[in-house]
């Protein structure tokens, strides 16, 4: 039986990827960001999953305005690294897990979440920056990845509550897969940031840290936070944080497990480019 052992949460700021690709990680500005991921790289070496179910959003890369799926699961055997206008990032291609992905699609749709199934999709920084942050610069990514793209570009995006419930459905799907796999679920994006208009540059440390606290201790309550609070408090692009609730919904305590997950690592830093960087690693016990 496949099992979810841990969840990882991280921002996916494109400039972080660029800093790695251009060899700037030792510059003082970036050193402060990467120092926060050193324990994570050790942790993942010691806790290497077989598959990561990676929740992220596409940033007008694979999906233009022609088709805007709210939830899209990548079921392909591999996913190319997208050219987002600056040339593709020099990182390995992403290998999928078609058997598990198809199984999850079938199970989750039967649990009333109408996923879009995608068999061809280039993946952008939303997916590759978290891999780089957690794994550094390997020749090949050390595990398979199931990309799960959430529309957070065009409003209305799915609610936190819907995302949290979806995470629970994904947990059931993964746990019913007949294969011995260690699976992690990652939620990415955020934290507070606004990239548009005269209000660009918004950061809200207090709100972000309360989000991190509640994600650990009160995910059910956090899932009730309406969109408008994200927009007002965490900026128009801070809405990406709803994706963290998918990963949190997949943890054992939400499904009636006795114990809260253990916080293996927590990190918060401002800024990376326009954005507050937040990061958590939670292990099921």
């Amino acid at each position: 039986m496949a099992r979810i052992t841990a969840s990882v949460y991280t921002s996916h700021v494109p400039a972080i990827g660029a800093a790695m690709d251009l060899g700037k990680t030792q510059e003082p500005y970036w050193q402060k960001v990467f120092a926060g991921y050193e324990p994570s790289r050790e942790w993942i070496k010691a806790n290497k999953p077989d598959v990561v179910f990676l929740v992220y959003n596409d940033h007008a890369t694979a999906f233009s305005l022609e088709i805007i799926p709210t939830f899209a699961i990548g079921t392909a055997a591999e996913f190319a690294v997208a050219d987002e206008g600056w040339g593709p990032r020099p990182v390995p291609k992403v290998e999928g897990h078609p058997e598990l992905a198809s199984h999850i699609a079938q199970s989750v749709i039967q649990q009333d979440f109408d996923l879009t199934i995608v068999n061809k999709m280039d993946v952008d920084h939303g997916l590759t920056v978290p891999l780089s942050l957690m794994c550094g610069q390997p020749e090949a990514w050390p595990f398979k990845v199931i990309p799960f793209a959430v529309n957070v570009v065009q409003y209305p995006v799915p609610s936190g509550k819907r995302c949290f419930m979806l995470g629970q459905a994904i947990r059931k799907a993964i746990e019913s897969f007949d294969g011995d796999l260690n699976v992690q679920v990652w939620g990415t994006g955020g934290m507070s940031h606004q990239l548009q208009g005269p209000r660009a540059g918004l950061i809200n440390k207090e709100w972000d840290n309360r989000f991190l606290d509640r994600l650990v201790d009160d995910p059910q309550g956090l899932a009730e936070v309406p969109h408008i609070e994200y927009v007002r408090e965490a900026g128009s692009e801070g809405i990406e944080l709803v994706m963290w609730l998918i990963a949190r919904g997949a943890m054992a305590d939400v499904a009636g497990g006795r114990n809260k997950p253990v916080v293996k690592h927590r990190f918060y830093h401002v800024p990376a480019s326009n954005t507050a960087v937040g990061h958590l690693i939670l292990e099921n016990t």
């Binding site: 206008g85 209000r199 660009a200």
Partner: protein
């Protein structure tokens, strides 16, 4: 009954909702075309001619030519699409975001290093409607 849009009064912010998306469809699709290198070259060689290939409004074309991202957003543009223009121009996301705030590049960068803009920010009086 009208739909509830509580985000309309957030200062200095335009939420890219279905209405904005409808208005900005061709503007954003033009931006999307700049993901291909040959299109970037053709756009750079003659911006006006390239824009005229798209069924965009004249206002949208003028806003692109002026690189007025705030205006582009008012006219239905979305920042992740508009970022393709910035990539074509060799601009970073921070330069693009900063350009919408009325601050210099250095002022904006320093504001971010100093912890960013507070969520309680309101526009200077002269910009308020």
């Amino acid at each position: 009954m009208p739909l509830d849009k509580p985000y309309k009064d957030v200062p200095g912010t335009t939420i890219f909702d279905a209405d904005q998306s409808r208005k900005g469809y061709w503007l954003n699709q033009f931006c999307m075309s700049l993901m291909k290198a040959p299109n970037r070259e053709r756009f750079k060689a003659d911006e006006r001619a390239y824009l005229d290939e798209w069924p965009m409004t004249e206002e949208q074309k003028q806003a692109v030519l002026a690189r007025d991202l705030n205006r582009c957003i008012q006219l239905g543009g979305n920042i992740y699409f508009l970022a393709k223009i910035g990539a074509t121009d060799g601009k970073s996301f921070q330069q693009m975001a900063g350009s919408m705030t009325g601050m210099s590049e250095e002022e904006y960068r320093d504001m971010m290093i100093g912890g960013g803009r507070p969520s309680t920010w309101t526009p200077p009086a002269k910009e308020q409607k």
